[in-house]
């Protein structure tokens, strides 16, 4: 019975909270557009500053390569591994096909799943350890940052366990935790999945009109 609840109503509820919450949080940013009139004569009149910065900031500037190397590599390893798991693990592809899109795509082979999960775990663990050990990130971080990291970690862990042991109870536990994550997502720093576009885009546009390739 609890399985039906997790598979049914809780899934729809968590998906709705996720979609509405993300949309509402992004709308709250965008509704403030135009509060400040920009009247100064631009140095750059062609567009494209926002898009350029959105793309440029995927890679750190050369001058910062050394100081940011560890965190950037750990970040990429985690995010790429997670992305591969989320969209290309066979059970996820089937879930998305059956419940959301109605169509599927070629999933990762089993060995690909293993590699992706190892990368994601390794990257996430490095980031969590860094957050705990470095005086700067320790000072900056609050409970919400740790909750986000731990939630993602346990969702990944139960996902791997569910796949490896083919247990219905583990599948339900994984789905339940994923639903908790979906509900938590819009209220947390996990929103950077979307807000990187607004922060990079706005800053890029503002600086570009001043003649700065931000």
């Amino acid at each position: 019975m609890i399985g039906d609840f997790i598979d049914g109503p809780l899934w729809y509820f968590s998906a709705a909270v996720f979609v509405i919450g993300v949309a509402w949080r992004l709308f709250a940013i965008l509704r403030l557009r135009g509060r400040k009139k920009v009247l100064s004569k631009p140095r750059n009149t062609t567009g494209g500053g926002a898009l350029a910065t959105i793309l440029r900031r995927f890679v750190p500037y050369r001058e910062f390569a050394t100081v940011s190397r560890g965190r950037v590599i750990a970040g990429y390893v985690f995010h790429l591994g997670l992305f591969a798991l989320l969209f290309f693990a066979a059970p996820h592809m089937e879930f998305i096909r059956d419940r959301i899109t109605g169509f599927g795509w070629t999933p990762l082979p089993y060995w690909g799943f293993i590699v992706a999960s190892q990368l994601a775990f390794f990257g996430l663990l490095l980031l969590i350890i860094y957050r705990l050990m470095n005086p700067v990130t320790r000072l900056l971080s609050d409970a919400g940052d740790y909750v986000s990291s731990i939630l993602v970690f346990v969702v990944m862990l139960t996902g791997c366990m569910a796949l490896l042991q083919a247990s219905e109870a583990l599948r339900l536990l994984h789905l339940f935790l994923a639903e908790v994550l979906l509900i938590y997502f819009p209220f947390s720093a996990l929103m950077h999945t979307f807000t990187f576009v607004t922060s990079r885009g706005f800053s890029g546009a503002v600086f570009y009109r001043r003649g700065v390739n931000y």
Partner: protein, 443 residues
């Protein structure tokens, strides 16, 4: 024309007295908080909301901040400086404010006092942190707004407040008013220069600053020589001469507006085609990027900072320079507000190249240049002296690595800070104005 180091000592002495001259700005705690909140409420637009929502607290900005790097103290991490405004946004403007009001505590007067050191003493709004941020967050912009909130709450550091209050009340900076301009012009005339003053109509309104008139007279003289050599229709004006804007630096909007409007109205009255901003970091963006917003419509004239203007004249073939200077080993310090903030990076380099000097870039230069530690009014804040000295150490090491004998400056505040740093460190480097070097090399 060499600068008079006795005058520099007098300046430094004057600055040490500033705090005692400030008028108190005391409010009850509750009023302080409400005043600060009103500024946040009015100022936060989509850009800043987007920035506040995007930080993942990766801590990379700590690696780009001269105050954090030089002291090693994590409390100076730029992302931390955003926390006050972020808490306000989450609790009072954000989409889940009902939730954040349950989970976070409200801003207190004590918070505002704690943030005074973070946004005034330990931040020059140089913007270097924004360059390393993977989210592209304009942290300097957040700090600027937080300064405005603290200013409204009466929490501008006393030294900076004294100068801002003077500019607000009398329109002068360090006592420099119309008489100071007349004296400076007279001094230049006795040195044989034709100096137009208070012309009713002119194509170019040339600004100056108290520092140029009283200390960096080499910059002032060079500017006069250059404009005369170019044969331009230009003037200084006693009713609109000061480039420095301590309203902007302190975060006091009405003083910023008053100082900017003085220049804007003067430029319009004389029918100026362009206003030329002297070698002053913040003076350029104050007019170039905030002037029109203050005026309420596009400015009917162009605004150039002197290094940008010199490059335009070089490109047009009107400015001819001697280029037999290969024996002079120089490096160049980009003013943050010209380079990183306003995109003026190639222009001063084109001028330096035209001088034919042996030019050596700093290891970190251009967009990645380290701030000297004295910008955004920090140079006048007495309590920031240890932080300034620590931050200057980065610059000191970088300049030494170039092997240059001279450090070229395009900002008076930077030059003041470099002179102080050179004095403190018994440094053998010569701190030279770019425009002064151009003035010495006119063909």
């Amino acid at each position: 024309m060499a600068i008079d180091m006795n005058v520099f000592q007098q300046f430094a002495g004057q600055m040490a007295q500033l705090g005692s001259m400030a008028q108190p700005t005391d409010y009850p705690d509750e009023e302080r908080v409400e005043r600060a909140k009103a500024v946040f409420r009015k100022s936060i637009g989509a850009e800043q909301a987007g920035d506040l929502e995007a930080c993942v607290k990766c801590g990379l900005c700590a690696e780009a901040c001269h105050f954090r790097v030089s002291t090693g103290d994590p409390k100076y991490t730029p992302a931390r400086k955003m926390e006050l405004m972020k808490r306000f946004y989450q609790r009072e403007m954000g989409p889940f404010r009902w939730l954040y009001r349950l989970a976070t505590r409200d801003i207190t007067a004590r918070d505002l006092e704690d943030w005074q050191e973070l946004v005034y003493d330990s931040c020059t709004t140089c913007g270097r942190c924004g360059m390393i941020c993977p989210m592209g967050i304009n942290i300097a912009g957040i700090v600027t707004t937080t300064r405005q909130a603290l200013a409204e709450a009466g929490l501008v550091p006393a030294d900076l407040r004294a100068v801002q209050q003077e500019q607000g009340a009398y329109g002068t900076v360090f006592g420099a008013g119309p008489d100071t301009v007349r004296q400076a012009v007279e001094q230049m005339r006795t040195r044989g220069h034709d100096v137009p003053l208070d012309k009713e109509k002119a194509d170019y309104l040339v600004l100056t600053s108290v520092v140029d008139m009283m200390l960096f007279t080499d910059q002032l003289e060079a500017t006069i020589k250059i404009f005369n050599r170019l044969g331009l229709d230009w003037t200084f004006r006693t009713d609109g001469f000061e480039g420095a804007n301590f309203g902007l630096l302190a975060g006091v909007a009405d003083v910023q507006k008053q100082a900017s409007m003085k220049v804007i109205e003067t430029a319009i009255a004389i029918g100026a085609k362009a206003v030329i901003v002297p070698e002053c970091g913040h003076a350029y963006p104050a007019l170039r990027w905030s002037g029109a917003e203050i005026y309420g419509k596009p400015l009917p004239f162009d605004v150039y900072v002197i290094s940008e203007f010199l490059d335009l004249q070089l490109q047009a073939g009107k400015l001819k320079l001697k280029s037999d200077n290969s024996d002079i080993k120089v490096t160049f310090h980009d003013p943050c507000k010209h380079g990183r903030y306003s995109g003026i990076l190639d222009e001063p380099r084109a001028v330096i190249k035209a001088l034919g000097v042996d030019f050596r870039e700093l290891p970190s230069h251009g967009m990645m240049n380290w701030c000297c530690g004295g910008g955004a009014g920090v140079f006048v804040i007495g309590s920031a002296a240890p932080l300034r000295q620590a931050a200057f150490g980065i610059k000191y090491d970088e300049v030494n690595k170039t092997g240059a004998d001279k450090v070229l400056m395009a900002c008076g505040s930077c030059r003041l800070n470099f002179l102080k740093g050179a004095q403190d460190n018994n440094w053998d480097k010569e701190i030279v104005s770019l425009v002064a070097l151009v003035g010495d090399n006119l063909e």
